[in-house]
């Protein structure tokens, strides 16, 4: 069994094939083709075809959004005289919209806005959900209160929550972030609460406690690392949910408001021109689909990596 440990350790060159040692590889095919094993299980999951495609889709769009000012010289809100020109004409790589704004810049800046909303909201939901889970496991009364709060948040369909929050807080990115956070709090919170309750009573946690570990050390060194797998997967899923919701809220006009560019807003504006200028709708459709599919592929790759 020593070969197993050796081949799993990081080594500078290709590891020599464990010469037909029993139990060294899944089969003769694997033994014949030596491959360096990736130790981190998430990374191992991501370095599969599924994970690489997902990372590529999301990475390219993330890069394009971040580099928006470098990739286009057009102001996304500047109205030129050329309305609804097709791709490539009048110096507009991807054409213009109904009031002559450059579609490529609007698309790139939409990705920027979208990712900003998602990258703020999902970690915030994780933090608040996690904090509430910690509160819940401390005391029975707190547990009941927190669980009822989670139930309440879960009982709202997401877009109805979106309408309610917008009715209260007004339009804009702030409302979208709030809605996403409110939706993610119970999913992360329930997951972490359950995991903490399971893992803090496992033998190794009890042993650590007997060994004198305080609650903080117990939590950070023993419980949380073991509870991390489903949470890591859920982060990717939550991001795809957030992308869909940002698109939906902006699409029905309660999210990012015109003239600011957003994927949902562009899609909604393109609706009357679907017949004569289908290219207009194509951009936001492709971007949203690629983001959602990419994030779900990453989630699935992480999930498989963690389970192996």
């Amino acid at each position: 069994m020593a070969t197993d440990v050796l081949s799993a350790a990081p080594s500078p060159g290709p590891v020599p094939a464990p010469a037909h040692a029993p139990g060294a590889g899944p089969g003769p095919a694997a033994a014949a083709k030596p491959r360096r094993r990736i130790r981190n299980r998430y990374l191992r999951g991501l370095m599969t075809p599924r994970g690489i495609i997902g990372l590529a889709l999301v990475g390219v769009l993330l890069g394009a959004g971040l580099a928006a000012p470098l990739l286009t010289s057009h102001d996304p809100n500047f109205q030129s005289a050329d309305a609804l020109v097709g791709p490539g004409s009048a110096g507009h790589l991807y054409g213009t919209d109904e009031i002559g704004r450059d579609l490529l810049s609007r698309l790139l800046y939409s990705i920027r806005t979208d990712l900003m909303v998602v990258l703020i909201a999902v970690p915030l939901g994780l933090l608040i959900g996690g904090a509430l889970a910690l509160v819940a496991v401390t005391h029975r009364v707190a547990d009941v209160a927190v669980q009822r709060l989670f139930d309440l948040l879960l009982s709202f369909p997401s877009l109805i929550l979106g309408l309610t929050v917008t009715a209260i807080a007004g339009f804009g990115a702030g409302s979208i972030v709030t809605v996403i956070v409110l939706i993610e709090i119970p999913s992360f919170g329930r997951m972490l609460r359950g995991a903490i309750l399971v893992h803090r009573d496992r033998e190794y946690a009890v042993a650590a406690r007997i060994g004198g570990a305080g609650p903080l050390r117990l939590l950070t060194r023993h419980v949380l690392p073991n509870a991390a797998d489903p949470v890591v997967v859920q982060v990717a899923v939550a991001m795809s949910v957030a992308v869909i919701l940002e698109g939906a809220m902006s699409f029905i006009g309660i999210g990012i408001r015109p003239p600011d560019a957003s994927l949902g807003g562009m899609l909604s504006a393109s609706r009357p021109y679907l017949e004569d200028h289908p290219f207009y709708a194509l951009g936001p459709l492709v971007v949203i689909t690629a983001l959602v599919v990419g994030l779900n592929l990453i989630a699935e790759a992480l999930n498989r990596g963690a389970r192996r």
Partner: protein, 314 residues
């Protein structure tokens, strides 16, 4: 059965009351005054005070809530601030259309989910299974506005067989009405269908492993008959519960699907009301949606109690 209903009813009514309370107060507590929208630009203080008194906004909030609740119980939902007209009339114009869409979507999701679920058990080869799981994943994750746009582009523009949007009642003209209903109901049905399929498949696999399946097999009953007559009925009760829970999801997705297909239902009304801060309409629509949600939940529990007598004792 009546006893079970009597025990479940108070908690359902409690949730409704709590929700009406929350909806009324949260909307009152926020900045942004509907009077500002109504009074026009730069109104005199007298005009503002007159409008406030006219709408009853100068009275204490608790008194406003009491009046509103009493009115709601009498079926009077107030007058719309902005659109004008009775809120109950606005609602009743829309409810039928939303019910039509929701029922259409429920039927589609049940039908598609059943087919996919049964195929998930009967298809044995790898390629077929891969196709099925791809269909499931796609219908689960692709957002409604994306699938809606694709369907409109394919079946209303490229190959114009269906109307791109709008509404004709199925009751007044079944054939034309169905053409208008087909795409929005299908788009709405896709994510629930994937969930139904998973439950059907799991239920079937479990039922096919039971003793009565083995007995039926040993009696020489053909596999197809075992599947449809013995396994499927036993796999259905959990599906019923899931459908009940999915009604909430459908209410949410209605908002976006109505926008894509220009379907004049409750979702569009809610969106217009929120955009214009039309308090009475927002309250009424939200309260109605909560009520539907609570009633469906109650009905699901009752149906379950009918199927499974053990539930009644709890």
């Amino acid at each position: 059965m009546t006893g079970y209903l009597l025990r479940r009813l108070p908690s359902a009514l409690g949730v409704l009351l709590l929700a009406s309370f929350a909806i009324f107060f949260i909307l009152r507590a926020v900045p942004g005054d509907p009077v500002a929208t109504l009074a026009g630009s730069d109104p005199s203080p007298e005009t503002v005070a007159a409008i406030r008194a006219d709408l009853g906004l100068d009275r204490p909030v608790l008194a406003q809530y009491g009046t509103w609740l009493a009115d709601v119980l009498r079926g009077d939902l107030g007058r719309s601030y902005v659109i004008g007209g009775e809120v109950s009339e606005l609602l009743s114009q829309r409810i039928g259309k939303s019910v039509e869409l929701t029922i259409g979507a429920l039927v589609f999701s049940l039908a598609i989910g059943l087919v996919l679920g049964v195929l998930g058990v009967t298809v044995k080869n790898r390629a077929g299974q891969a196709v099925l799981s791809a269909i499931n994943a796609i219908s689960l994750i692709v957002p409604a506005y994306v699938s809606g746009f694709l369907l409109v582009f394919l079946f209303a523009i490229t190959w114009p067989v269906l109307p791109p949007g709008g509404h004709v009642s199925v009751l007044s003209d079944p054939q034309i009405g169905f053409q208008y209903l087909l795409m929005p109901a299908l788009v709405m049905a896709l994510p629930p269908a994937a969930i139904v399929a998973r439950y059907v498949k799991d239920g079937l696999l479990q039922a096919l492993g039971e003793d009565y399946t083995r007995t039926a097999k040993s009696l020489g009953i053909p596999h197809r008959r075992i599947l449809w007559r013995h396994a499927l009925p036993n796999a259905l009760p959990p599906v019923l519960t899931v459908l009940g829970m999915l009604v909430g999801t459908l209410l949410g997705s209605a908002v976006i699907i109505e926008a894509v297909f220009a379907w004049p239902g409750l979702g569009t009304l809610a969106e217009q009301a929120v955009t214009r801060r039309d308090y009475p309409v927002i309250q009424a629509v939200l309260l109605f949606m909560v009520a539907v949600f609570v009633i469906v939940q109650l009905l699901t529990d009752l149906a379950y109690a009918l199927i499974d007598p053990r539930v009644r004792l709890r």
